[in-house]
Subunit: 288 residues, 4 copies
């Protein structure tokens, strides 16, 4: 039956060569699976890396998936694949980090509530308590963990403990204004999504709206990206812009930017949750 | 070698069932082909129609393609496919029809000249002579075929004769303001692309900018579609809009609309030329 | 002092002729007012109607405005103006009508809460009770007034009673799926804003997303307009679109459309609240 | 009569204070002029700079304008205005500089030919001869002035001589890939418009598409700006973007970017020609 239960995804990266698509499709066919979506991209036609995302349905998938993965292993080895199997029924567990600006958090909560984000939101974590009422109104756990400049590590230890206890799969920084340590980033590599309030690589760092105002730009933007040690330099998942003009001061830019930040982050998170984003050499392949 | 010569495309439509992707991929693999792009879409996950577009490279394709097609036939029959093989080296032969407004024609000529449109433009046909100088400056044949209200059929006979003599594959109506007969349309079904100067289905028919002005819309648009007997009702390939406001009168809307018409038509034609558009029940599937 | 208290707006429509701008500016100058924003538009350069919106600051405006209006009357008469004075400190009182889809309501409440909508939301009215929890969480009155097909008038009587008791200035139909009677519309002419879930005039009436799907459009849109007796034919305030493709079924179009509906309605409402919209012959002039 | 002959514009910048709008409007009224468009912007409501653009019609303007300007002088002095009078009939004389990429040049020539750019194109200057055929086909003078790395100044001397002989008002760098000297820039301050092929301030300098590819951006853009000594740091007139994805290599980005470059530059040039752009502290006020 073609239910959520029986829907699985294969994410594959390997050196490109003839026959890979055929081999994978043939494998799934023999397992009895029906391919419902298939995307592929090769970085170079001759000597590149091939990326595939295949969504399939297989009767009794929960009971079959262990043997399916075992059977796939030799094929994966033959083509030197790095690969991942993701059953659709296993929703990713999400933690949202936020500071004082709540619009991105609110957008995510709404989209989640209306069924658009296929995730379990396990908690909202903040260094302030502004979000508390909002989070509670959605019946979700809220953790207020202040971050003190002279002792950031204890806050992070507490955060990591929470994340690990809850078996968190993805962390969304929904306007969380603290920098995370390399240790933290390493622990959740390619699983921390940040929204930066500019069209990167323009206005990296602090106060992008103020600097956009100073520069006199005619569009402002937002960028959702995976977080790496290099501030605002991680792989970009999604970007968008909106038009402004000379009448917008820095405050007006900030207000206008909220709309873009909200929709850009929501799209990026949605794609991540549906295993549609693959990171490759500080860039993303998005099979949206 | 991975040259234009050796690049081919398979376009397939068939009842969806398990194993089709595998069978096609396996077939191409055994032929020695390397799949460089693959798109699929199924109208319904259970009982739908599957559409596939596969781009592949095969050494010595020109010499191999006859046997490749012959070998594919049994597989196609097994899955009840309607299918088409299109070698990339065989550029489509295009005729452009135009009346007095030249901006869409000009855009196509530019894009063609700069190598963006993979086509041979065999001729430009017009019921007026406004385009003559422009067309000649590109070194292309121009045919002035006036259309008289009381004898449209003789003009059409002349047009069809020209098209057939030149073995035209696709006709682009780049602001051609005459209605074509059912016979003409039948002859080039799904191969005549029109640009309509509105966001269809708004403002079907005459004078869309005048009516857009009367209605007070805040965006105006353009629509590229395949032409069918039902005026402006054919399958839509591409659409876009641009922002206007109360200061735009009908003339200003027309000027602003030109930019949208140009880019929408150019995109639609490009996709058609690259076999990226499939028509299905008065809609298009665009594997762009 | 340049406070909200002391900010006023003049909205003027009159036959265009030489000297009007000078006369109005001179008048305000003599009153001691400082013009902070001024917009004008003339429907026709020779023989048209002139529309002006002037925002000014005047010390002690609340105490001065009665005499200011009295003094302005002769000038208004001289130029045959229809005009309106609107003090910024007098926020419009708003009622929101909603049915079962809550995304537009949610957007308005949020924008209001974050200070972007300069209004007092007096009540939310619905023919269903789905919105109740949301509305209560914002501390706002919620009125559940069911509408029975065979007795619509009693529901409307109750609605009108509520609106009049609360001295409502503007009614926003945030996906309210009932048709209002001519009496109701007459009572709040040019003060009822509806969001229609299509790019009007395409897909007037019921089920626009279903019909957009059938037509195979490549963009879907939303339109905010003042409500008149002709369904979906009233003056358009704002429109926008978003891109879709063949993979979107009617349900997916509906989900994608929500984002556009939300932002289009929020912009239109904001402009109305700030007296930036003037209705003229079934169109709007928007001094945004 | 309301002809192009009788249409004038006043551009004003001055310290903001009460009564300026009234004084200017009153002045024009007494001169017998009819204001057809009026825009104003103040950098700060309290203590800012006021910018105004007024378009008016005055019978017999060519004969009247000398006395009109003389009469305006005392008023200008009173309010410490820097101001400029620009008769619409005096079309700006334009020189276009180009190198090897011709798409921006082509767009400008076409817009000019179809009457959308209110200018006299006096010449096209290039350090290569690629544009020669195109320019000649429009019947315009083409000057091939090679630029040698070890002797840039002689090329510039020749360029300046040409510009001065032809009394050029505005220089458009339509993908001209040479850096101009401070002397040159000084000579035509705020009258040289460049198109940069990125969304500034992202990707300042060389090879923006290559760097956009490396960074993995999801939108690419273009920026039209006045040229100053600081490379790509001059006042921005207009910007726009277009969507790309992981399948675009640097070459594909470059092709996609052409469309944006063309339209952004054409808009910026049009606004400049119609005196709609005011430069203020390295930003622009665009009364579009």
């Amino acid at each position: 039956m073609m239910t959520e239960e029986n829907r699985g995804r294969l994410l594959i990266a390997c050196p490109d060569s003839t026959g890979i698509v055929a081999a994978v499709a043939q494998f799934l066919y023999r397992q009895g699976a029906n391919i419902s979506a298939s995307d592929q991209y090769s970085t170079d036609a001759f000597d590149g890396t091939l990326f595939m995302r295949i969504e399939f349905h297989l009767d009794q998938l929960p009971a079959q998936e262990r043997s399916l993965c075992a059977d796939f292993a030799p094929l994966a080895e033959k083509f030197q694949m790095s690969w991942r199997y993701a059953p659709a029924r296993r929703r990713k567990r999400m933690a949202i980090f936020v500071s004082k600006e709540l619009h991105c958090l609110q957008e995510l909560l709404w989209e989640w509530q209306s069924g658009q984000l296929d995730t379990d939101i396990s908690m909202v974590v903040s260094n302030h308590d502004d979000a508390q009422t909002l989070v509670k109104s959605f019946g979700l756990p809220f953790h207020h963990i202040p971050v003190y400049p002279n002792d950031k590590s204890s806050a992070e230890a507490e955060q990591l403990h929470l994340l690990e206890s809850a078996e968190i799969d993805v962390v969304v920084l929904a306007r969380y204004m603290q920098i995370l340590s390399p240790t933290f980033l390493e622990r959740y590599a390619n699983r921390i999504i940040n929204i930066h309030h500019s069209f990167l690589p323009a206005f990296i760092g602090r106060n992008p709206y103020g600097r956009a105002y100073e520069r006199g730009v005619k569009l402002i933007g937002a960028t959702a990206h995976y977080v790496t040690e290099d501030l605002d330099e991680g792989p970009i998942i999604e970007q968008d812009v909106t038009r402004v003009d000379h009448r917008y001061d820095a405050h007006a830019l900030r207000i206008a930017g909220r709309q873009v930040e909200r929709s850009v982050l929501a799209r990026a998170v949605k794609w991540h949750l549906e295993d549609k984003v693959i990171v490759y050499e500080n860039k993303t392949i998005v099979f949206a």
